[in-house]
């Protein structure tokens, strides 16, 4: 069964540094998402992306964050200047339709630790 893959599985970064998290969504999917989960808390939406542009973003997704689909397969999340509170699991997800009640397929996440 096709799956969403994320790299790296664990990223340790010094505060203030830039970090790029990478995702390869399921190949025929057109809608992409980033979520995060702080340890012990719920999964929170960050941003959705379709047709090479952001379609929706949450309050968490401020100017420090950006997303990109640099080629036909990768989908990246960049945090420009990391803060301690950015430490979390970051999940990428994809679906084949935005509306129409479609399930989202999640990767196994990148654990981001900011020191």
């Amino acid at each position: 069964e096709p799956e969403v893959t994320q790299t790296p599985s664990h990223q340790v970064t010094q505060m203030g540094q830039e970090v790029i998290l990478r995702c390869v969504p399921i190949s025929n999917h057109l809608y992409f998402y980033w979520y995060r989960q702080i340890l012990g808390q719920k999964v929170e939406f960050l941003v959705s992306f379709y047709n090479n542009e952001i379609s929706e973003k949450s309050e968490i997704f401020d100017d420090q964050f950006s997303v990109e689909r640099p080629d036909g397969s990768n989908f990246t999340l960049k945090i420009r200047s990391t803060k301690l509170e950015d430490s979390a699991m970051y999940f990428c997800a994809s679906s084949d339709r935005m509306k129409g009640n479609q399930p989202q397929h999640f990767g196994d996440g990148t654990r981001l630790s900011i020191l």
């Binding site: 979520y35 935005m98 479609q102």
Partner: protein, 113 residues
């Protein structure tokens, strides 16, 4: 803003029994509701979706109900097994109508042999 509550953080049951998990929501009338399973250190895995015009949905040992009057969904696992031990997440579409999901905090189910 919309609020989702899952009734308990943790639920322990004996193997073979039926587990029932509850999801309540307020300030919203979603067109559908989804349930996901999350194992430690893994991403959520989609289990079931139920639409507002459906009262009940089944998949193997799983059953979901959706009561739009009570603003509640119940998630049942019958004949539970230790392998069913995981955190189960309720998710609704955001109030914008698009599919960014809003998740509950989850219920951690432990099935004891």
């Amino acid at each position: 803003s919309q609020k989702i509550e899952q009734n308990s953080e943790a639920l322990n049951i004996q193997e073979g029994k039926t587990a029932t998990l509850t999801c309540n929501y307020t300030n919203y009338s979603p067109a559908y509701l989804q349930w996901y399973r999350q194992d430690p250190g893994r991403g959520p895995v989609f289990l079931l979706l139920i639409r507002e015009n459906e009262k009940e949905k089944r998949k193997e040992r799983l059953k979901v109900t959706f009561d739009t009057t009570l603003k509640q969904s119940l998630f049942h696992i019958t004949a539970s097994q230790p392998a069913d031990s995981a955190t189960y997440l309720c998710a609704l579409p955001s109030s914008s109508g698009n599919t960014p999901l809003v998740f509950g905090k989850g219920t951690r189910l432990s099935v004891i042999a």
